[in-house]
């Protein structure tokens, strides 16, 4: 299974800190700008990149990521171009794991085998596909694992003890714990509840547990990071992109730096997380 991901989490464990997983929407607001953002993320402190595949009907996303997807599609982004982003990124960076995140239809439309072959060749390490629960594993999860692409599952507060083994079966890379019932970009949950949930999942698996939904600031990142192996930040990052654009949605000179400034701060939070846990 793609070694890059496992090595990254092993290194983080050795460093004794949680990872920072940053989500960005591929092609938002245009291909070149989002490539610039992607290339700048590792330097700003991102340990894993989640690369959003825009979809016309993002049913589990809040307004920030909905709008990011609309901007990307309006800018001509397609699944093929999102894979191109990864290819370009890989020319300079062989170490940072890339996880594609989105919805199934564009993948199904491309054809599962074609998609997986291209994803591997583009240097993709894992997939998060929101509308493919374990009941639909035959669609993409099993073929992906067979080809050596990690399939990362979402666990949620509604995933009870009885269901956890089902969710964790066929999961690899890491487990993405969605810290609340809801859509992306909602309010931060109580960190103590998150800690308990992470421990509950850890009783069932040795995989790293990364927590997302609601993390917006360095303080959030530190609080959540104290309890988890990784912290996922998404809506706050795409909101930075949105805030940097011109009135008609075009990138500006400070679009990339708006993202890196936020990510550097989040990285500081994550790096002090274990310290916070020890206090």
């Amino acid at each position: 299974m793609t070694a890059r991901m496992d090595k990254r989490f092993a290194d983080l464990k050795a460093e004794g800190r949680p990872g920072l997983i940053t989500y960005m929407m591929g092609g938002d607001p245009d291909f070149q700008t989002s490539l610039g953002i992607m290339k700048a993320l590792p330097g700003a402190g991102a340990d894993v990149i989640e690369l959003g595949m825009p979809f016309s009907d993002p049913m589990a996303d809040g307004p920030a990521i909905q709008l990011a997807g609309q901007r990307a599609l309006a800018g001509g982004q397609t699944l093929a171009k999102t894979l191109d982003l990864a290819r370009e990124f890989r020319k300079d960076d062989q170490d940072t794991p890339i996880v594609l995140m989105g919805y199934y239809n564009p993948i199904y439309n491309m054809g599962v085998e074609t998609f997986l072959d291209q994803a591997l060749e583009a240097g993709i390490d894992g997939l998060i596909v929101v509308d493919l629960p374990p009941e639909m594993d035959d669609e993409l999860c099993i073929p992906a694992l067979a080809k050596g692409v990690n399939f990362i599952r979402l666990a949620t507060p509604t995933t009870d003890e009885k269901r956890l083994p089902t969710v964790l079966r066929n999961t690899s890379g890491f487990v993405y714990y969605v810290s609340m019932n809801g859509i992306t970009g909602s309010a931060l949950p109580d960190p103590s509840l998150v800690g308990a949930a992470v421990q509950r999942i850890k009783a069932h698996t040795d995989l790293p547990i990364c927590v997302g939904f609601g993390v917006k600031t360095a303080d959030h990142a530190r609080a959540i990071g104290a309890a988890a192996d990784g912290v996922v930040v998404g809506s706050a990052i795409v909101a930075q992109v949105a805030g940097s654009l011109t009135a008609d949605g075009k990138a500006t000179d400070h679009t990339v730096s708006a993202v890196t400034t936020l990510v550097s701060g989040l990285a500081t939070g994550v790096r002090s997380a274990r310290l916070a846990a020890a206090e």
């Binding site: 979809f55 016309s56 009907d57 993002p58 049913m59 589990a60 996303d61 809040g62 307004p63 909905q66 599609l73 397609t78 699944l79 093929a80 919805y103 199934y104 239809n105 564009p106 993948i107 199904y108 439309n109 491309m110 929101v130 509308d131 493919l132 629960p133 374990p134 009941e135 639909m136 599952r153 979402l154 666990a155 949620t156 507060p157 509604t158 995933t159 009870d160 269901r163 969710v167 969605v178 019932n181 809801g182 859509i183 909602s186």
Partner: protein
Amino acid sequence: MNQSLKPNSFRAGPDEDGRFGIYGGRFVAETLMPLILDLEAEWNKAKTDPEFQAELAHLGTHYIGRPSPLYFAERLTAELGGAKIYFKRDELNHTGSHKINNCIGQILLAKRMGKKRIIAETGAGQHGVASATVAARFGFPCVVYMGATDVERQAPNVFRMKLLGAEVKPVTSGHGTLKDAMNEALRDWVTNVEDTYYIIGTAAGPHPYPEMVREFQSVIGKEAREQMMAAEGRLPDMLVAAVGGGSNAIGLFHPFLDDEGVRIVGVEAGGKGLDGEEHCASLTAGRPGVLHGNRTYLLQDGDGQIKEGHSISAGLDYPGIGPEHSWLKDSGRVEYVPIKDDEALAAFQLLTRTEGIIPALEPSHALAEVIKRAPTMDKDQIILMNLCGRGDKDIFTVGKILGMGL
């Protein structure tokens, strides 16, 4: 060893994973999965529970007004000069369409499951009105998501929902039509999964919705079958119904699927014609994809992005279709054809003047197909069409197109 092959049935689906052939399934976020499984378990119990069935039947009779009549359209038949035309008059139901059949069934399930709050999506507003109605009848708070474009073009239904105590939330994302309303309802559901029941209005969505909605709507076909036997002593030669998501059509069709002598025709919204982008003929012009919890025919671009449809009828303005229809198309059992806006409008006017019935724009599409077919058939042949909704809600839309100020 001499085991005979089972008779080939078109009525056996879905399988235990909610599939009709390759269509259907459960393509939802993990947050919703436990609830979908709970719902399926509760539905499986309810459908064989005599008490549930008795309550459903009682409300059907005394609240909805079932059975709806089977009506021989004598003057229309004479006008067209061919096959005898019968209407199944589900437009006479309480709230004015077939939508209430499904809402009554689902609200009883919501009650059984101990849910505290109802959400629904709506296009034309008929399902929203039916949901708000049953929510009022059973004392649930109700939120209806409706595309902002539809809120504007279906003002009377918006007012009805508000009178009934529902909160109507206009959805501005996307193009503000039914697809976007469904996205927003799913976002609400995923946020309030613990206490909320989502009444999906058509025979689509994740399993068990397509099967469940079909079963609640099959009362249409079951009644029609008996009524036709009583009136004519035989089954009809042809069934015709409009398909948006496809719930009224599957409700009429399903009890007849294994009757080889009955031709079945589903009518899609051809909008301004299939040459351009402005139509909603997902079965005729789309291809299989995954949206809103199921695999089915969808209108989509080369990248798998879902297109916005167009129809004169807000109730047919959806780029997908219930999964069972996709399977029935591929299997060849049901023929699906498009009817354009102007053809539906002409049918709307013809029925109004020949039979004194103002139909909704949705069944006007089915009627336009009947108008094409009846003259080509013999006078002893029978067409049965589902007149699934009344046109009161559409008079403003029609008035505007005909240039009459209201």
